[in-house]
Subunit: 268 residues, 2 copies
DNA sequence: TTTTCCAGATTGTCAGACAGACTCACGATC
DNA sequence: GATCGTGAGTCTGTCTGACAATCTGGAAAA
């Protein structure tokens, strides 16, 4: 992900690359410009605001690791191990864990520590319900606010998804396609507030999506649903779009929950 | 070693009541049973789990101070000052701030520090929209899951609210009444997931409610809306209840936004 | 008056310590 | 042989002290 030479590796869970001295004020850490954030322009020269604090890098790294299943749901996150893997101090790790905990991606048991969030069947049901509500809202906002370019990009993500499904791409790839779709949807909805809240929910649901999408036949059905949804959005038909959105998530929930019941718990 | 005399005051923002020893392992801290949490029962003897970590106490204190407007929206939260007011170390304060930041009650500007969240008009609009979606969902869950006792308690909160409105109680009191209503609603809905997510949104909206509810005439209207809502819930009429819920929040949003535009920014 | 520069205040991060809570295996007891 | 303590080791919760980098406000210089 970001980062420089040897520092603050992306906490790749398990992999341990050796580490240099590492000091707070180490210049090699500071120079890189973190994507978004406050970036100004002066006379055509991009002035990147300092990379996010180290803490942010750690948070991003952990979040990615969790969402990519490098860290399995239920897995314990021992502070000392994270310190070794990331090279940052325990204080920083703890701050990062607190933030991820508030975000819902990790749960903290007092006197026991943090572990990757592992939704129960009941929680999963509610997460899907919450997500359906919020996505319906997002779709409405998209139709209200998005400009032509947004519509085009949104349609493009669905096309890409369909192609990957046709090619029989693996689940990993399809998940990424869907992520792109939602990224565009949120961009067009132009609401940082919704983005933040829905983002947290989607992240947690993502921990379930792996199981749901690997069900045979589900991928094709999913692509069809997305296509219908995006058509309704293009037609600026709020009611239909919201209905399709909710139906899509109902289906996804049903599949995921069925898989959850069937599989039980192997894994970690 | 560790601390002594005057420590860990409950961060009452400004007010400083003296405090007892209080240490992590100090028995006087440990003995109190934190409301919910893991509490087991053995042969009729309630075994309370340890009080929340110090950090949790700080978070609760800060959260309360913010929601009670002891800390004004936009006000800076300087770490050193919090350390002095609470008596806990900077590390603990920082962890608490990270958690509140992820929760949305404080915003953190890199290299600048934390300040109490102060929603812009746009953000306020979206917050109300998100809240409407989620509360409609909550109402549905309540009707699905709540038992008779829940219904009774919910009705009771509305009755109390009506009485306070009739008595011309102050806004502070009315806010508390509404909080009780929502507490009951969430209890009946029996969904920790929804509670967590909606809780964060409500907290942020609460920072606006003070202005909206102090508008003349709004209190009575609000009480009437709540009454209608609770009647629909009692009748288990999901569609009507959801509609009333959304209408109620649309009104609240309109009032709050009007007040927000009119007032501008005085305060801190 | 405007620009420059310095000192103080504040955040970001680190290192090291230590008490208390938890886990678990080992040996003593019934 | 099964139960109960006990003790070592591990890990979290907190504290202390320190220092670099950044920001801010105001004094000094142009």
């Amino acid at each position: 992900m970001s980062c420089a030479g040897s520092r603050a590796r992306v906490v790749a869970a398990g992999v341990d690359a050796p580490r240099q001295p590492t000091r707070g004020p180490d210049p090699s850490t500071v120079r890189l410009v973190t994507a978004g954030e406050e970036t100004g322009t002066f006379r055509g020269i991009r002035v990147g605001r300092i990379a996010a604090p180290l803490r942010e890098q750690v948070i991003d790294g952990l979040r990615t690791a969790i969402l990519e299943f490098e860290l399995q749901p239920g897995q314990r996150l021992v502070e000392r191990e994270l310190v070794e893997q990331t090279g940052v101090s325990r204080a920083t790790i703890r701050e990062a864990l607190r933030e991820l905990a508030a975000e819902g991606l990790v749960v903290t048991v007092p006197q026991k520590g943090a572990m990757v969030y592992k939704p129960s069947a009941d929680e999963a049901r509610d997460l899907y319900a919450v997500r359906a509500s919020l996505e319906a809202l997002t779709v409405r906002r998209f139709i209200e606010r998005a400009r032509a370019a947004h519509h085009d990009r949104l349609r493009a993500t669905v096309t890409a998804l369909e192609e990957d499904v046709a090619d029989g791409a693996d689940m990993h790839r399809l998940l990424r396609d869907k992520d792109l779709f939602y990224t565009e949807l949120l961009a067009g909805a132009a609401s940082p507030t919704i983005e933040q809240i829905l983002g947290g929910v989607q992240a947690r649901v993502r921990l379930l999506r792996a199981t749901s999408m690997s069900q045979p036949g589900r991928a094709a059905q999913m692509a069809a649903e997305m296509r219908a949804l995006v058509e309704a959005i293009t037609a600026r038909d709020v009611a239909s779009a919201q209905r399709l959105c909710i139906e899509h998530l109902d289906n996804a929930a049903a599949t995921a929950l069925a898989a959850l019941d069937g599989v039980g718990r192997q894994g970690s």
